[in-house]
């Protein structure tokens, strides 16, 4: 009798756990700390409304390494925060991502962002012809605006400096600051295994403005070589700032050794260690981290990285949080749709100060006027391009491009650096 009851209880428990099993979704994310807390806040309304249990797999910084391994092992999470469109494309070509074209909320996303999440996959048909299919494989949870130069408002006012609106004006301002005895730029490239990436943002911003968006796209897709004069020119413009004597806090050595998150803090020293810092919108949390009493717009603000060639105006550079789906289950697709919705993005961006991609998001949710201003710029941008190094194959975009920047600043001749990157690019793109 007891045996029968025990058996029954076991079966019941099994059935209950199976039922619970069916109603859950796993998502692997790279976030930790504040970002992870914010994501949990995003997830809560979804769980209450649908009863689906969302299990957040906090993989951490190693997600770009772990994710391909799990995919290979046939054990991918239901969804994942994809590190960048480049890796999304690699997964799409392997056929492990679920097409997301039918998500309802995708209709509220700007065309530029839907395009960034679209991949053209070539499949060989039975009759040996190649079929090309366009599908959306990634939806954006939020965008990041990168063409920003942060500055100390009060120090600018006190010294009588004006926000430059062109490259010559930017250089003139830098020279003026040097003449007044200060250091114009704070640049920090150190980031452990990812050192060098802020320099790539500089070069991409410059490339957009000196060579234009079309040549930028060709450069990112390796349709022009790294030794192309337009590419070399962009690097030289970067060198104009980072290698100029007295221009950078700590000089080239400082740029190479100072952690990127610590770099802007010197803008608010007394006297200021530097006056300008070019960095993406997320740096605000780092600025406030080291100087919590600062008030946005009053104490610190940004101006858009100025145009260089008048022909190309001011194209904007950015990045974003991309979500991809690996397992084709109704729960996973429902969750993906939720993440693309205004509701989810209002929470995510409201807490973290990121820029929502869904156009129907209420603009008043932004935590400060700076983020709201950046969001407005992104929405109105005529030309918007995704961070180039995120789009390139990993061997270049997070390999030789990063180390190339470090080598260039260390004094290695530019031609040598570009040839090395080109060699690795020929290798990486070719396969």
């Amino acid at each position: 009798m007891r045996k029968a009851v025990g058996c029954l209880a076991l079966v019941a428990a099994l059935l209950v756990s199976l039922a619970a099993f069916a109603q859950e979704v796993t998502i692997a994310v790279v976030w930790s700390g504040d970002e992870l807390d914010a994501f949990k806040q995003v997830v809560a309304p979804f769980e209450t409304a649908t009863g689906i249990d969302v299990i957040i797999d906090e993989v951490g910084r190693d997600l770009p390494t772990v994710l391909p391994v799990r995919v290979q092992a046939g054990n991918p999470p239901d969804l994942a925060g994809l590190p960048n469109p480049g890796q999304m494309e690699e997964f799409a070509e392997q056929g492990v991502l679920v097409p997301l074209d039918d998500l309802e909320n995708l209709a509220d996303h700007p065309a530029a962002f839907v395009d960034l999440g679209t991949v053209t996959v070539e499949t060989e048909l039975a009759d040996l012809t190649i079929a090309e299919e366009n599908h959306v494989y990634g939806v954006f949870l939020a965008a990041d605006f990168k063409s920003m130069v942060w500055y100390n408002v009060k120090e600018f006012e006190a010294a009588g400096y004006e926000v430059p609106t062109s490259w010559p004006a930017l250089i003139a301002l830098s020279d003026q600051i040097v003449a007044d005895g200060g250091t114009p730029w704070a640049i920090g490239l150190e980031n452990g295994a990812a050192s060098g990436w802020p320099g790539t943002d500089w070069i991409e911003d410059i490339m957009l403005r000196t060579a234009g968006p079309d040549l930028y796209d060709q450069w990112v897709n390796h349709e022009i070589p790294w030794t192309h004069p337009a590419v070399k020119k962009a690097w030289e413009y970067f060198g104009q700032i980072v290698n100029a004597p007295g221009y950078v806090y700590g000089g080239p050595v400082g740029a190479l050794t100072i952690y990127f998150g610590d770099s802007p803090a010197v803008l608010f020293d007394d006297p200021p260690g530097a006056y300008m810092h070019r960095q993406a919108s997320f740096i605000q949390s780092f600025i406030l981290g080291s100087n919590p009493e600062l008030v946005p717009v009053e104490d610190y603000s940004f101006f858009v990285f100025p145009p260089i060639s008048p022909v190309f105006g001011n194209p904007l550079l950015g990045a974003g949080d991309l979500i991809g789906v690996f397992n084709d289950t109704p729960e996973a697709l429902e969750f993906a749709n939720y993440l693309a919705s205004a509701e989810a993005q209002e929470i995510w961006c409201g807490v973290l100060g990121k820029i929502a991609v869904n156009k129907t998001v209420d603009p008043s949710i932004y935590p400060d006027p700076i983020t709201a201003q950046a969001a407005g710029l992104v929405a109105e941008a005529e030309t918007f391009r995704f961070d180039g190094s995120d789009l390139m194959p990993a061997a270049v975009g997070s390999g030789t491009f990063w180390s190339g920047v470090l080598d260039y600043i260390s004094g290695i001749p530019l031609d040598t650096v570009l040839e090395a990157i080109e060699a690795s690019a020929v290798d990486a793109y070719g396969e």
Partner: protein, 289 residues
């Protein structure tokens, strides 16, 4: 009592099976992969090996591994020997030995992070947060970017971290062996009028040779695989690249399985001489029993 001939095989079978499955098979498979392309699908012959021996970064990695091999082994073993011999005659022997050994308790990643702060740089106009630069500035010099000065300063700085961790191990092993030397030998030598240095050279050193050999080969096998320190502190940038870091990048960052396998095979081949020496010595020891 007679045992049947197959009984030993029965006892060793589980271990053998584990070895074959987790050691032999992966090694053979890795060697196979080194002749294939990045996805492990199409045969490319010796292409990966050509890349490994002609690519600039790989050549830098080879050079650095050689520097590590010589520098790291030399300093860990000699400092270990020095501490083992000298501390035996000192009053606070146990305390000092513990202090030298403590770095062994922390992970290489932890040590790398600690020393990153020691080597930190700030411009001359502000106060230094890095210990080394604070000392340099305190003595009137200019702060140096320790981890970016290529090619010698940064490599030596990284080797210092490795030596700091592993000297303790060498010291402990050599000390155990040193204490086994009968004191009468050294007494006799002293009575015969030998100086301390002569005692060291002619009595202690020969008797310690087997242990020194063991420690040295252990350190060599270890240093050829050096990864954590380089990965955490410079990620191989600024001419500090090493083979194991290269293998990690090729495998996990660039997902090029062919090249990663090639580097693994090269490392394996480099270690073979050490293995041969070890096995020979082991056989000699067995023979003298």
């Amino acid at each position: 009592m007679r045992t049947r001939r197959w009984v030993p095989w029965l006892y060793t079978a589980p271990a053998l099976l584990l070895l074959i499955f987790f050691l032999v098979y992966p090694s053979v498979e890795t060697a196979r992969l080194s002749f294939f392309d990045r996805a492990g699908e199409s045969y490319v012959g010796w292409q990966n090996y050509v890349y490994a021996f002609t690519n600039n970064t790989m050549l830098t990695a080879f050079r650095n591994n050689a520097i590590w091999l010589v520098g790291f082994t030399l300093f860990t073993v000699s400092f270990g020997l020095l501490f083992a011999v000298l501390l035996d005659r000192v009053r606070y022997e146990r305390l000092i030995k513990s202090m030298v050994f403590i770095p062994m308790a922390i992970s290489m990643v932890g040590a790398g992070t600690i020393w990153k702060f020691v080597y930190a740089y700030r411009p001359a106009s502000v106060s230094q947060i890095g210990l080394l630069n604070a000392i340099v500035v305190g003595l009137g010099g200019q702060p140096i970017g320790w981890l970016i000065e290529r090619p010698w300063i940064n490599n030596i700085c990284l080797i210092v971290v490795g030596v700091w961790i592993w000297t303790g191990f060498c010291m402990v092993v050599l000390s155990a062996s040193y204490k086994n030397i009968p004191k009468q030998l050294m007494e006799a030598a002293r009575i015969d009028g030998a100086t301390e240095w002569q005692i060291f050279r002619r009595v202690i050193l020969p008797l310690l040779m087997p242990t020194i050999a063991v420690v040295t080969t252990t350190m060599i096998v270890f240093v050829l695989k050096i990864f954590d320190i380089v990965y955490v502190m410079t990620n191989g940038n600024f001419s500090t690249e090493v083979l194991a870091n290269r293998m990690y990048k090729e495998q996990f960052s660039f997902t090029n399985y062919g090249r990663a396998a090639t580097i693994a095979v090269i490392l394996l081949v480099l270690i073979i001489p050490m293995m041969v020496i070890n096995i020979r010595r082991f056989r000699q020891q067995e023979a003298t029993r």
